[in-house]
């Protein structure tokens, strides 16, 4: 079954076309990696999929679990199980991390017609997921991402992902700037979610992460399009040779 199907997607940001005919299909249960040079449109794709204001699809289609993704608003997409681990998680001063997470979990449950979790049930879920992600408990009683170190922010993203149990998780360079332990924690988080009905889209610059999260497919995004796809060995090749040869290949077409 198809989890995400993107066909000939063109998208603009601030009137500038960034995605230029992108095709991608991720089946349920699969993990795909997206690699590509700086500025090629990877974050743009993740924002467009999650419905950020100002990111506009000008052509093409995106279906998510058989539904028209682009017709849903941001919070609906989230409640339908689409999760984005941000490349640069923003701080929200004065808003308690735990309070925010409970509001998020319950908003999503409400959307799905499930009863909201009370404080006791919620704490039980927190305890369970904390063991999985190895996030310092102290961070939960602070304001969202406020004063968190780079690594703490990324771990907090993965903790939120674990709490929300998304159907499709998009990780935008979650591995950048992480020490090796944090990298493993991120990989554990993603691997724990692996199941026949869940998928992940992992955006990364380093094949190192892919040693821990072994992808089913690797795609190369250049100039707003997927220009090459392959299996895990493609990531190794990119690490060795860079993107120049692919850009040349594409240019030659």
């Amino acid at each position: 079954m198809s989890m995400l199907k993107i066909e000939n997607l063109h998208a603009t940001v601030a009137g500038k076309e960034i995605l230029k005919g992108l095709d991608l299909e991720v089946k349920a249960g699969e993990v795909h990696a997206i690699m590509g040079p700086n500025g090629s449109g990877k974050s743009t794709l993740s924002y467009l999929l999650s419905g950020r204001d100002g990111y506009e699809a000008t052509a093409g289609r995106v279906s998510y679990q058989g539904k028209d993704l682009l017709a849903m608003n941001t919070e609906e997409r989230a409640a339908e199980g689409l999760f984005l681990a941000f490349q640069y998680p923003v701080a929200i001063p004065g808003v308690n991390n735990m309070y925010f997470l409970k509001a998020a979990v319950n908003a999503q449950r409400k959307h799905r017609g499930q009863p909201e979790l009370d404080a006791v049930e919620f704490m039980a879920l927190v305890d369970e997921k904390l063991r999985l992600v190895d996030l310092k408990r102290e961070l939960l009683s602070r304001a969202v991402n406020d004063g968190f170190s780079g690594g703490e922010k990324k771990r907090n993203e993965i903790f939120q992902m674990a709490m929300l149990e998304p159907k499709l998780a998009i990780l935008d360079e979650t591995d950048s700037g992480l020490d090796i332990d944090a990298l493993k924690a991120v990989a554990d988080g993603v691997n724990a979610l692996r199941s026949p009905e869940r998928s992940s889209l992992v955006i990364t610059h380093y094949q190192r992460l892919l040693d821990y999260i072994v992808p089913d497919r690797v795609h190369v995004l250049v100039g707003g399009r997927i220009v090459k796809s392959g299996d895990k060995s493609l990531a190794l090749e990119l690490e060795e040779r860079g993107y120049g040869w692919i850009e040349k290949e594409v240019g030659a077409v």
Partner: protein, 494 residues
Amino acid sequence: MSNEQIERVTKKEYEWGFVTPIDSDIIPKGLNEEVIRMISTKKQEPDWLLDYRLKAFRHWLGLTEPVWPKVHYPPVDFQEISYYAAPKTDKDRPKSLDEVDPELLATYEKLGIPLHERAALAGVVGAESGGGEGLSGIAVDAVFDSVSVATTYKDKLSALGIVFCSFSEAVKEHPELVRKYLGTVVPHTDNFYAALNAAVFSDGSFVYVPKGVRCPMELSTYFRINASGTGQFERTLLVADEGAYVSYLEGCTAPQRDENQLHAAVVELIAMERAEIKYSTVQNWYPGDAEGRGGIYNFVTKRGLCAGARSKISWTQVETGSAITWKYPSCVLKGDDSVGEFYSVALTNNFQQADTGTKMIHLGKRTKSTIVSKGISAGRGQNSYRGLVRIARQAEGARNYSQCDSLLMGPDCGAHTFPYIEVKNTSSQVEHEATTSKISEDQLFYLRQRGISEEDAVNMIVNGFCKEVFRELPMEFAVEAQKLLEVSLEGAVG
């Protein structure tokens, strides 16, 4: 945040806009010595108080309205205002809720006042608020129009020697206390509105906490403006004697009106040696409609005197209402090592204007003050912070920390900061920080990506912005204040 978003969240009608058609005993419009004598006679006041009023009135005649606040409004015609109104129900106290004017009960209903408090508020004989769990809960003194219609918990408080009653009652029962302290912090010559208040004040609250007594409950007053065209001039006097502690809550909502109504209150606080006073306000007077018509003019003088060494006065306010707010709760730190605090959230939406802030006057040695001001502007709201920190020559080792943050929601609103700092010695330290930010699209997107609706996301960010102030409020009040902000901003984003 897009303009369209802002429109959606800030458009919300005033929930408590209603008028209670209770028969009022109103003095004809206008202001002259005759009217002042009439007020004083109706209230059966002693001569010294009438003299005080007349002295204030004569002084007021020589004053002109201040023009320095950054607010704009058509001139107030002081002869078009009626200076006294008392609900008729005050004459005979009801024996049970069945005897209470149903209109009054309906008013409480709309205000969301809990059932068990309504009887007490309505002045039913023998009724107590708080469900009778002894000295817990809140003691409420309701100022309905100008006269208190209810005072509760009195017996329990008086067993501790605490006086908590309407101002008029205090004049009758404790004239020596009133006479000793009235006008000692805010003299009748202080400013235009304070002089007006001293001349025509109708009623208000009086609190005296004796030496060494810690008031075991929050004292609370609800204010309402009701009779059409009636200016409201409350007078509150709160004295904490040596080593005493008291926390006082003031909350108000007002019914919707088309004409502007003037509200000029005076609040005086006095803290003796080691005494502590915590004064919290949630202000929600009618702000006017979305086109800027109507609404309350709120010109208030609030000042506390830390008279004794190591005393402390703390003002916390959440201001969401009024068409115009002009208000600077201040502290005069006279006692050595005394402490003054000011925590404020002021929200302006639509055409609301607020010019608010504080004054911290350091006179004693090693006196300390903290100012945390959070201004939120939406719609065409204009929000100004105006603060004065003055450190006198003799106030050696004094310290002040001020933080003023402004949050803008949309392109048509404004935030302004006017800090005035005067330091007359070299051993003191003054720190001032100011920030202005917009509700960030990044933050909104982050919360919405987690499944939180846009409106809830805005409320969450705004509440986070106000956190440092809300945590100074007593628990129930903090919840109320949060709800009020949400209601005031509903429709402000979208």
